[in-house]
């Protein structure tokens, strides 16, 4: 027995040595990034107090090395596997514990403070004493202690009160585990929900959900209601964590997947947990029914409140049960649980208002001063309980959401979940992708995003768990472009070689297409990178699609002379490539990356290139569809089709086409407007100090260089293609504005023709209309001579702005003055010259703190009904007032220098 253990330990040592070898080989970062985390997980389980320190250290090292060998090297991102490894490290640790007798002096500490200080002070400036393997590079990643921005542990010492665990608090009597009254139950449930929501929003589990002490060990709770609530809560947390990790579309800024080794009631089955809560829920339901007001009964206030309290607890239990079972319904294979989920979600929607109205019944925390880490809570919650679980990173402060806010959050979450239950009925993958994009635009939370992802492509990698990706791609492509190779009517449909080629292509296409869906599951900011990244894959796919098309074409023309298979699959891939490029470019507007002086080339690229290609791609696909419908049926030779030819076209891309055309016109309008604004000097390019337009341009469109079709337009080409010098005579500003006006008008008409109209399209129509009117005004000379830059207002839509010409008065005073001077300088009349001189003086005064007086001068200026002469005299008067600044000397009707201004 003893020998066996020794062998085991030797193995352990070997592992440790291997691990250190890995380190020296330079595999530092990827495994290490998670090591700190893992150390935590294992730390909680290994009872380290019973180990002598040296062994403790080894445990730590050893358990780490197990991780790095077992999990991390294989798959560093698979965090949810760690649970297993924690247990294995626990086993190992306990073996070591057995091996070594317990009571030994651990360290032999020798104080060297003075020696050390004097020795180190002898070092020269910049001289380091360090071990062989340790250099400045490693030193950089050390946490700096006592730096409030780096050292999360600093705060621990500043909190004076004692932090007790659940067991300690129960012993002390500050936390009850039996006979909780209804107010307490309501308070605990609502606070727990708030913690849950805060966790889903991206905070650490330890600092949110597990500040609830009851969840640390629900089994010691005697109160049945609280106990079953805690168990269901733990199961819910575990399920949410599992779902989000599995979907894999979250980044660290969205969600923290660590579970810190907390036990999630894994030994209670789903059905048992639901059964427990249901039982208690029914009990409360009964009491609630019995205490309901009956006709003709006189009720005391006490009875009434009692009834309300019982009902409040009852609906909460119901809510948590429904929420958990709805989540479980989403997990069911092949989307079989969706109907159930719909039902449960609508039940939740019904009870949410009742929860909101009874939030005030729960016990509330005292409103004492909250510090960054510590905040007042109700009994049973301890914000500092997991303070020792803070990761060795810079401090992040967790602010738990309010109760009302959390229920409202759940309300939105439930609405989102309801909206995704219809996805399997949408049909082709293109429609589904459109839905995914639309869904993502509303910035949904990580949970709904993950559930949607897993619904479409569950771990078995089949669409909705049932159809293979290749098959559903075939359906989708048939609907998009009807390639002869996929049409049963065609002569090559049953050709073995052709089939093989198509299957091979689509098998290759499956991964990038699935990635398109996954991209929409990431948060909006991350999507931009991902769109750029996918272009590589799509470009390769494009090449293969073209080859397959060429081969199929040679087969096809042998039997059907007048049909073509060229650029058929290719067109389909191109459609996705263009979509990715467009999404990439547009995300720059949404993320507010582009400066106004960059708009002209961004709009140009969208208008002249991306959407132009998109329109022609859709045209080609649409004509393929038409061809396919009119094609003779080659599979049934000699028999004429009896169906009437004059039926409505079954498949058409008219809607997509119209939208693409409309968007092209919109961007055309913006492009022309921006150019016109540049021509008349309202938009100016700032002087770049460190870069120029070319650098910016190349940077903006850098990802497009990997794509072969459409080819990248380089800056020099862009300059050449967009040069207005091509036109003879040069277009005037008015003409450019007129062209923009026309574009917006066309966009509006195209959008109007789309049915059915979505809310988004209606918004864009409104924007197109507004811009049309603004352009019309500009053509008519509105604000012609002001040099104020136009404003692009993205409040209505984050991609299509409304162009606004700003009111002069909203500008700072000195800018108004500047504009006036500019005006007068151009207008060479005598009065104007005098006025401009005066304005110069006024301008001077502005910098001599005569600002208040100036406010009145603009008033005078705007009052255009006066003759020039009158105005001039007023200016002179105004000037007089400036020379004697303490007085009010305005005489005319328009000049009232108020005393408070002076």
């Amino acid at each position: 027995m003893k020998k066996q253990r020794k062998v085991k330990l030797r193995v352990l040592n070997k592992i440790t040595a291997d691990w250190s070898l890995n380190y020296t080989k330079g595999q530092k970062h990827s495994p290490f990034l998670r090591l700190g985390d893992i150390a935590y997980g294992s730390k909680r389980i290994i009872d380290r107090e019973s180990l002598p320190p040296l062994i403790r250290r080894q445990c730590c090292g050893a358990s780490k090395s197990c991780f790095s060998l077992k999990d991390i090297k294989l798959d560093p991102t698979n965090i949810y596997k760690f649970g297993d490894s924690q247990e294995s490290s626990l086993n190992m640790a306990s073996e070591i514990t057995e091996q070594v007798s317990v009571d030994q002096p651990k360290y032999n500490w020798v104080d060297i403070t003075q020696e050390f200080f004097s020795a180190s002070s002898q070092l020269q400036l910049g001289e380091l004493v360090h071990t062989n393997m340790f250099g400045l590079f490693e030193a950089m990643s050390a946490i700096e202690m006592m730096d409030p921005k780096m050292d999360a542990g600093m705060l621990c010492n500043q909190i004076k009160r004692k932090v007790l665990t659940l067991e300690q608090s129960v012993e002390e009597g500050s936390v009850k585990i039996s006979k909780l009254d209804h107010c307490e139950l309501i308070g605990i449930m609502d606070s727990s929900l708030a913690c849950l929501v805060t966790w889903i929003e991206g905070h650490s589990l330890a600092q949110t959900v597990f500040t609830n002490l009851y969840l640390h060990n629900p089994y010691i709770i005697e109160d049945r209601c609280l106990k079953c609530f805690c168990i269901v809560m733990l199961k819910t947390v575990d399920l949410i964590r599992e779902r989000i990790n599995r979907a894999g579309t979250v980044e660290e800024e969205d969600f923290q997947p660590m579970s810190y080794g907390f036990r999630m009631a894994g030994d209670v089955s789903d059905s048992r947990a639901l059964g427990m809560i249901k039982e208690v829920e029914e009990e409360f339901g009964k009491i609630s029914k019995n205490t309901r007001p009956k006709a003709g009964q006189d009720r005391t206030v006490l009875q009434e409140t009692q009834h309300q309290l019982v009902t409040a607890v009852h609906i909460r239990l119901k809510f948590f049960r429904l929420f958990y079972s709805a989540l479980l319904s989403f997990v069911k294979e092949k989307c079989e649980g969706l109907q159930m989920a719909q039902k449960q979600l609508s039940q939740i929607v019904e009870i949410l208002p009742a929860i909101i109205s009874t939030i005030s019944f729960g016990v509330q925390e005292e409103s004492s001063q909250a510090s960054k880490n510590d905040y007042p809570t109700i009994p049973g919650f301890e914000p500092l309980i997991n303070q020792r679980l803070l990761p060795p990173t810079f401090p992040r402060y967790t602010i738990i959401k309010g109760r009302l806010e959390s229920v409202n959050y759940i309300k939105i979450l439930v609405q989102k979940l309801q909206s995704i239950t219809v996805v399997p009925e949408l049909g082709s993958l293109h429609t589904i992708l459109e839905f995914f994009m639309e869904f993502s635009r509303s910035s949904p939370c990580v949970l709904s995003r993950s559930l949607l992802q897993l619904m479409l492509i569950p771990p078995n990698r089949r669409v909705f768990g049932s159809q293979s990706v290749v098959d559903s791609l075939k359906d989708t492509i048939r609907n998009f472009i009807s390639p002869p190779g996929l049409s049963p009517k065609s002569s090559i449909y049953n050709h073995a070689q052709a089939k093989e080629y198509i299957d091979a292509l689509l098998t290759r296409a499956a991964r990038p297409i699935c990635t398109l869906f996954q991209i929409t599951g990431h948060n909006r900011a991350r999507q931009r990178d991902k769109w750029a990244h996918i272009l590589d894959d799509l470009s390769n796919l494009q090449e293969e699609a073209d080859k397959v098309d060429a081969y199929l074409h040679t087969l096809l023309v042998q039997t059907e002379r007048n049909r073509s298979h060229l650029a058929c699959f290719g067109t389909w891939v191109l459609y996705h490539t263009l979509n990715a490029m467009i999404n990439y470019t547009l995300s720059g507007f949404e993320l507010e990356l582009y400066a106004t002086f960059e708009y002209h080339y961004v709009y140009w690229y969208l208008y002249e290139l991306l959407y132009a290609w998109m329109v022609s791609t859709l045209h080609r696909a649409d004509s393929f569809l038409l061809d396919a419908e009119n094609a003779p049926d080659m599979s049934q030779k000699g028999r004429s089709s009896k169906k009437s030819k004059k039926k409505k076209r079954a498949k058409t891309l008219a809607r997509e086409l119209t939208i693409a055309q409309a968007y092209q016109q919109m961007f055309g309008g913006y492009y022309k407007a921006v150019v016109a604004f540049q021509l008349c000097g309202k938009l100016k390019e700032p002087k770049f100090k460190f870069d120029n337009e070319e650098v910016r341009y190349s940077h903006r469109f850098a990802p497009f260089s990997t794509v072969l079709t459409p080819p990248m337009v380089h800056y020099a080409q862009y300059k050449e293609m967009s040069d207005l010098g091509r036109y003879d005579p040069l277009p005037t500003t008015q003409e450019m504005f007129g062209a923009a006006c026309k574009c917006f008008c066309q966009a509006k008409e195209l959008l109007d023709s789309i049915t059915p109209q979505t809310e988004e399209i209606q918004t864009i129509i409104k924007i197109a209309k507004t811009n049309f009117v603004v352009m019309k005004l500009v053509v008519g000379g509105h604000k012609e001579d002001s040099l104020d830059p136009p404003e692009f207002d993205f409040t209505q839509h984050n991609i299509f702005p409304i162009i606004k010409l700003i009111q002069a008065s909203s500008l700072p005073l000195w800018e108004q003055l500047n504009a006036l001077l500019y005006r007068f300088a151009r207008n060479k009349s005598c009065t104007a010259i005098i006025c401009s001189k005066l304005l110069y003086i006024l301008w001077d005064c502005l910098y001599n703190e005569a600002g208040p007086v100036l406010r009145n001068h603009t008033y005078a200026y705007h009052n255009r009904s006066q003759t020039d002469r009158d105005q001039t005299s007023r200016w002179i008067q105004l000037l007089n007032t400036l020379s004697t600044p303490s007085l009010v000397t305005g005489t005319g009707k328009t000049l009232k220098i108020k005393s408070q201004y002076c």
């Binding site: 030797r10 352990l12 440790t16 040595a17 250190s20 020296t24 530092k28 290490f32 998670r34 700190g36 150390a39 935590y40 730390k43 107090e49 062994i55 250290r57 080894q58 730590c60 090292g61 780490k64 090395s65 091996q99 070594v100 030994q104 360290y107 500490w109 020798v110 104080d111 060297i112 403070t113 050390f116 200080f117 020795a119 180190s120 002070s121 002898q122 070092l123 380091l128 004493v129 360090h130 071990t131 062989n132 340790f134 400045l136 490693e138 990643s141 050390a142 700096e144 202690m145 006592m146 542990g153 600093m154 621990c156 010492n157 020792r388 679980l389 803070l390 990761p391 060795p392 810079f394």
Partner: protein, 122 residues
Amino acid sequence: MAVDSPNLTSSGTSGSRPERQKLENWLNKSMRIRMTDGRTLVGVFLCTDCDCNIIVGSCEEYLRPPDSQPKEDPRILGLAMIPGKHIVSIEIDDTTVPQGSENLDGSEAASVSACFDHPDYM
């Protein structure tokens, strides 16, 4: 901050000044440092400079003084740098051969090299 002159980074060069020698002898040993705010850090001594800034690896943080009861759970910090001005006392572990563990000799080197914990900063 790149160090360009080789004599600054050269470590383990024997025949250097006795002070340096002394510091080098302490390298890779366990070190216990008390900080001005009362926390105690235990880790492996890796690096120091003229301002007595110390870098320790595999660092564990204890809130209470080391001898107090009951024993508390440490918080794992990994690689930590303690500015010299916040150091109250330094102690070094003087156990040359760990007791009762001829089995463990081979892994001592490993535990030392395991000290380069890179905390997750991201």
